[in-house]
């Protein structure tokens, strides 16, 4: 069982899958000799050449659109968007095109396109290198939006992404790239979309968190465990479609739910999860559904105190858990 960081999990999986399937190619800004600004595609051009690891022009719309065209033809493109903050120029191609191709052609055409992008804050990236964009895209039927938090999940879900026939927005938390290390099983496995994972079992309350926040939630759960509060941590992993069953089963068991996300509070993924719990587990609840999220300001400010103020962290989560446990 090798121990990998999240980013090593990405690189290794791309390499292994490109060896398996000659139809996979990668394109994006600086993905070639530079190996990506985060070095996620490091070494791939050396092995696979510039016909399969293709430095794109600085143009997000066409990074996605060329991927769509190639996918329609039958290839398996991986389109890398250098930072999630810069995906907006491709919005129309993702939402109006990729996500609707199956539906609009009544299944005659499919678009097996993987769009990978680093997202999230806590890296002093300021307004435009820190954004959480998942809610905007998780609203769109026909587009998988996934956000694995651990190396094990990254490997299994990226393998899966390269096998499904619908477009996938594959979100990689940039702070978690090197911060998080973990075991990856030796045997070959995939993790199907739409399946949440119980990352920590507990009985007193449920915390639902993904990406970097999942790790902060585990920290907070450890801390309160010393005071006898037993927290279950659920990682949805796939944000669209959500695994309602796993979330509801946990909340029905613990009767209390806290949802953590670093996106703006209003209309974030946590708002949908709260609505699901409210409508389908109301009778089991012993307390109001709570959320810890970023304030409703445009994005993460650069200066450290303001960034810390913006980002949810283990302290903020711990405080919310204690409040909810005492309710």
């Amino acid at each position: 069982m090798p121990v990998l960081t999240n980013i090593e999990a990405v690189t290794r999986t791309l390499q292994e899958e490109m060896r398996r399937d000659p139809n996979i190619f990668i394109t994006g800004e600086d993905v070639g000799v530079r190996g990506g600004v985060f070095r996620a595609t490091k070494g791939l051009i050396e092995e696979f050449g510039d016909a399969r690891v293709v430095d794109s022009p600085l143009a997000e719309l066409s990074i996605v659109a060329v991927g769509i065209g190639a996918a329609l033809y039958g290839l398996r493109p991986v389109s890398e968007i250098q930072f999630a903050d810069f995906i907006a120029p491709a919005f129309n191609q993702i939402v109006n095109e990729a996500a609707r191709i199956r539906y609009r052609s009544n299944g005659a055409w499919t678009c097996p396109l993987v769009m990978r992008t680093p997202y999230g804050g806590g890296v002093s990236g300021g307004l435009y290198h820190s954004q959480s964009i998942e809610a905007t895209y998780a609203h769109i039927p026909g587009l998988y939006v996934v956000a694995p938090s651990t190396p094990r999940d990254t490997v299994g879900m990226l393998r899966y992404a390269l096998r499904v026939d619908d477009p996938v927005l594959f979100l990689e938390h940039k702070k978690a790239y090197r911060l998080i290390k973990g075991d990856v099983p030796d045997e070959y496995y995939t993790i199907p979309f739409g399946k949440a994972d119980v990352k920590r079992a507990g009985t007193d309350l449920t915390v639902i968190a993904y990406g970097l926040m999942m790790h902060y939630a585990l920290d907070a759960a450890e801390r309160v465990a010393r005071d006898g509060i037993s927290v279950e941590v659920i990682d949805p992993r796939t944000l669209n479609p959500l695994d309602k069953e796993t979330i509801l089963a946990s909340v029905k068991k613990t009767s209390k739910a806290l949802i953590v996300y670093e996106d703006n509070l209003t209309l974030g993924v946590g708002a949908e999860i709260a609505a699901i719990i409210a409508s389908d587990a109301f009778e089991w609840l012993d307390a109001p559904v709570m959320r810890v999220a970023a304030p409703d300001i445009p994005a993460v400010p650069f200066s450290q105190p303001m960034q810390d103020f913006f980002m949810p962290n283990a302290d903020k989560i711990e405080a919310a858990i204690r409040k909810l446990a005492a309710y």
């Binding site: 066409s62 659109a65 060329v66 190639a70 329609l72 199956r102 539906y103």
Partner: protein, 344 residues
């Protein structure tokens, strides 16, 4: 006007043979143009009778489209058309019945299962790619298809079509940029009908021709007479051959005109004079091809009438077929959002 046509016809005696087209090909071109026109006219009527909700027309574009379609190997090459391309897809093998099913939004509709408005053409088996409504999105996607063709080292070519207004979109620039950087086998065909709904070309761009823009990408930009099916064929065929030889993309501008409103919801009297429209109607591409075929003795009055009668028959049949087809179940709306996920 008629003298001009007669003169040019004499000059271009047997022009089609010089292009390597048989007499049958030339007549087939005429038939496809005529059939597209008759279908289109019937669709307008059906809309005016409130039988159908929407129609967007390709009238006036038949020469550009049929000429371009003839330059492709049907079912082998790829096409990523736009909403005006009825004559193009018809020539590539989409049937009048299929087109009428789309107009009526009936069950079994081939391109989208009656989910999209009519004129959003798609035909998987014919390599005609599904299109959407936001204009120009097909342009960089066609570059992607061409990228895949080159990746797979086949000898296919992809043709994508759009109006001149669409060339103001960023998608156009990004698509041509990719295609030229990678020398991709794609033909970009602009059907320049001089208006984007009400906005004339001069308000879309500060250069006189769409083809001029090719210079900035380092690819050829060629102007074709979009009202002359043989001229458009010649230019697109050359571009297709260039692409097949691995020499890369071409931007073709077929100069033409839309003598009808933008769509069934448009009133073109608000933005252009009747004189202008009438002048262009005299340059009608079907009339022009007919005069050419008569000048080379491939068509006469009797044969032309035969063609007309046959076209009417085909259109009647397609309309009846679509009328009699059932409507889709409401819950059909829920299908084909996602593919099956493995349970593993």
């Amino acid at each position: 006007m008629t003298t001009t046509f007669a003169d040019s016809a004499t000059q271009t005696q047997m022009q089609h043979r010089a292009l390597g087209l048989s007499d049958e090909h030339a007549l087939e071109m005429y038939w496809n143009m005529l059939l597209a026109r008759r279908l289109d006219e019937r669709m307008w009527i059906l809309h005016r009778q409130h039988q159908v909700a929407f129609h967007i027309s390709g009238i006036g574009h038949e020469a550009a489209q049929v000429g371009a379609a003839f330059a492709l190997k049907k079912g082998h090459d790829w096409a990523h058309p736009y909403y005006r391309d009825m004559a193009l897809v018809l020539t590539l093998g989409v049937t009048p019945r299929e087109l009428m099913l789309a107009l009526f939004g009936k069950q079994g509709e081939i391109s989208s299962g009656a989910r999209q408005m009519p004129a959003h053409f798609s035909h998987r088996a014919l390599n005609i790619v599904t299109g959407s409504s936001p204009v120009a999105t097909q342009i960089p996607q066609a570059a992607g298809i061409a990228f895949a063709i080159k990746y797979k080292r086949t000898d296919q070519v992809v043709l994508t079509c759009f109006g001149e207004g669409s060339t103001a979109e960023g998608d156009f620039h990004e698509g041509l940029n990719w295609a030229s950087i990678h020398k991709l086998p794609v033909v970009f065909l602009c059907e320049n009908n001089q208006y984007a709904i009400s906005v004339p070309t001069t308000k879309q761009m500060a250069v006189p021709n769409v083809a001029d823009r090719a210079l900035a990408y380092g690819i050829p930009g060629i102007i074709a007479d979009g009202n002359d099916v043989l001229d458009t064929y010649r230019v697109v065929r050359d571009a297709v051959e260039r692409a097949r030889r691995g020499e890369g993309a071409t931007l073709v501008e077929a100069k033409t005109y839309r003598p009808v409103p933008h769509s069934s919801d448009d009133d073109d009297r608000t933005y252009r004079s009747r004189e202008e429209v009438e002048e262009w109607k005299r340059k009608d591409p079907i009339l022009r091809m007919r005069q050419y075929l008569e000048s080379v003795k491939l068509l006469n009055e009797a044969k032309a009438q035969e063609y007309d009668a046959r076209a009417k028959q085909v259109v009647d049949d397609a309309e009846q077929f679509a009328r009699n087809a059932p409507l889709p179940r409401p819950e059909f709306a829920l299908e084909n959002v996602w593919g099956e996920l493995s349970k593993a």
